[in-house]
Symmetry: C3
Subunit: 326 residues, 3 copies
């Protein structure tokens, strides 16, 4: 099996090449969907996960821990308690915390951290983060979402795989991303995934003060991905294949300057969305940015296929990281 | 096996008929008491519980999760963290949260919610709640206590079974309920259980501003259960079979207007309680409403048989809900 | 196997005699280190731990729960939620909480309590605590750290075993303890361990207002252990075998009056520390009282051998307490 860059640590979307996604990850995720519907397997029997969440995250934590169970592995310790671990100043506790957890020799550490991991390990850029993490821990560390604007690479994997499976491919697709793009780590991780594909076009729709940050835009430029920036979802939605609606990041202190209909999905948007096989995605939890009646539209996948993808993509990733040890 | 109304969801005490209690539930609970004392069994091997608690509850959560273990099942995800799940407005997140958790295909979801579930699902009345829940989730949902004044149906089951076992039957018993009856979901669920039995009489003792609510009193009227309302425990206790002392619901914002001896159990109450085989119950945790010296009276069951009942009743309920799947 | 005083409860360091440490505990801990590196065993298969933490503690909780897993046992319930359990006044809830948890018949209860357990059970002195606990619970209760100034006896065990293994023995060693000694339950538990050995000398270094309390100093006097008290680490460090640096107990409301270099370890202290085989210990988490460049000194064991000792000592202790039941 081909390894991804930075193996076995998972820190940013840039680690995963198109080749790896298409040859290793997507096929294994499809297999895992069958394992899931079959009730599970024992491939990770005896493997131990430590699950450290220093920000609330019911969904990512639940799907990661259930993924372990469906594979026959165990979560031997989990916490949602941020206070002590992250108490000390200046990131020293981050390194100490990882070193201690790794010392107990779990097979994987699933970590949601409440600051930016790159800053904690003094990485100059995204590519360097895995090297810095590797210097701290031999145990695989998964970034299960660090502080906005950061990344959420397992969400990026499940999102790109949702597009792949629902659309039958990624090349040539037109994607609209709407909401608080500045602090949305999920849209950031998805953009870093999309940059690897061809003939993609992206429309960013956000209030002016919450536009996508330059690091992502620079990356898209370098990879030849055209994008627009605008402030009204209604004007860009007609020909798109994917609408990715982000949530308002109230937990992170920023709030969206809401204008009626510009940044949220409702019946009017559905009527403007011409493509019958378009899909509507959302990382959840949702506030009022998608009205409830949208849920029943067959194009809404945020409570169905995107959720399933979250479980099976984590099953695939954990298998790739830990499966070879037996 | 006969199913209860609203099967497999457990939302309110009204779902359980007298016939079901006596023919299915009480006998299975007694069997489960033997399984418990024998160290457990494997009847739910491979079954998965998700345990979502959005209000603190050491006792209900602990006994539910240990019940799964004694049956050979697993708790594959648990949280005591309310913040994210319940962040969004107006109940939409309730439906989303349940849908997402159910999508991962656990065998049961044990849910303590911090608002009233009936309101969240827009049920017009208690009987409609299970239908509304069923429209959201195929996975069995257990109401492990919703916001006061709501219900706590598994507590209602363990309480009615405690009376059954300690008193050798329920018909003809005289029950005193004392404390904050307005917001006490446990006394509410117990009243909805008692309404199914015959020749019951109930004395409600509470401050005037914390009297039992009309929905329960209407239900008792319809079922021919006489009750009194008064403000001094000492005056009603002499001939009763059961004293059910509720706790002060400080966590819910209401507080009891305490008067010396009127609403709490101490040596004086014990001396007034004539029946040798009467029992004293409390849902715990206790404040100072039962003084510590009462614990050693053989009639006090709140730290002994009532606790055991909590475990074995949940073992019985989970077996009924999940046991038939294998 | 010889039992320790107060068996099976673990409340204070005084329970463990030198003979028991040397004949039972140290050898079994060494065996457990091999079990750990071999990936685990099944000696506690079927055993159940309840893990109740009413103060944050990532390290103690993690190593205890992982110790159970490495032995084949299970953590059937865990909480980090202090609110309800400890809500009621004056210790009544402590007894109720323990009684309820014990009623579910786990094999061990691992408890971090946010008040002093001795006060909760009205023990007159340390030796009486186990008797008082035994009157509440047949189930073994582990004090995983009670409120400062209290004790942390499993930390005391891992610390004395770290000295034993790194130094090849304890008799004759010179130990410096530095930091907030008044509220440091770890240094307190370690002193109660050291009193059993011979030709020990201790230097306490702390701000005047955070000196070691009299109960510990009286104990050392009675056991013939000489100690000094001073306010500058640099002046006592040259000939010592062990520096035990405590953390600032900000969570407990006291703060250390820091003076440059007096109470913290840095390159200057390393250069003054003459013995090549001295060791530097810390209970973690660390703030800025040990600078990061000290980590790479071979004498620093707080992120390596001391961590390992935490896991294997708990494995040994749990085996002694539960292993005989099968």
């Amino acid at each position: 099996m081909k390894h991804f860059d930075g193996f076995p640590h998972v820190m940013v979307s840039q680690q995963f090449s198109r080749e790896w996604l298409e040859e290793e990850f997507f096929p294994l995720s499809d297999e895992m969907e069958k394992v899931f519907h079959g009730g599970g397997c024992d491939i990770l029997k005896g493997k131990r996960m430590v699950s450290l969440f220093f920000q609330p995250s019911t969904r990512t934590k639940m799907s990661s821990e259930m993924a372990m169970d469906y594979l026959g592995g165990k979560v031997v310790f989990q916490t949602e308690n941020a206070r002590e671990f992250s108490s000390a100043a200046k990131g020293e506790s981050f390194r100490d915390g990882i070193k201690v957890a790794a010392r107990y020799r779990p097979d994987i550490i699933n970590l949601r951290y409440d600051r930016q991991i790159a800053l904690e390990v003094k990485a100059e850029n995204d590519r360097e983060v895995c090297d810095k993490i590797a210097a701290i821990s031999d145990t695989p560390i998964i970034n299960a979402g660090d502080r906005n604007p950061g990344q959420h690479p397992t969400q990026g994997l499940l999102d790109i795989r949702t597009i792949q499976n629902c659309q039958g491919g990624i090349d040539g697709k037109s994607i609209v991303m709407v909401g608080d793009l500045w602090s949305g780590r999920t849209v950031r991780s998805l953009c870093y995934q999309l940059g690897k594909f061809r003939h993609i076009s992206i429309d960013f729709v956000s209030p002016k003060n919450l536009q996508m940050k330059d690091d992502v835009k620079d990356y898209l430029h370098r990879h030849g991905i055209p994008f627009t920036e605008s402030t009204d979802l209604r004007k860009v939605v007609s020909e798109c294949d994917v609408i990715y609606q982000t949530r308002t990041q109230t937990e992170c202190g920023s709030s969206m300057d809401k204008k009626e209909g510009c940044f949220s999905i409702n019946g009017e948007i559905l009527s403007l969305l011409k493509k019958k096989d378009a899909i509507i995605m959302h990382p959840l939890p949702r506030g009022d940015e998608i009205s409830e009646d949208v849920d029943n539209d067959p194009r809404a996948v945020y409570l169905t296929k995107q959720i399933d993808s979250g479980l099976v993509c984590r099953m695939a990733l954990f298998t790739i990281i830990m499966g070879g040890k037996n």
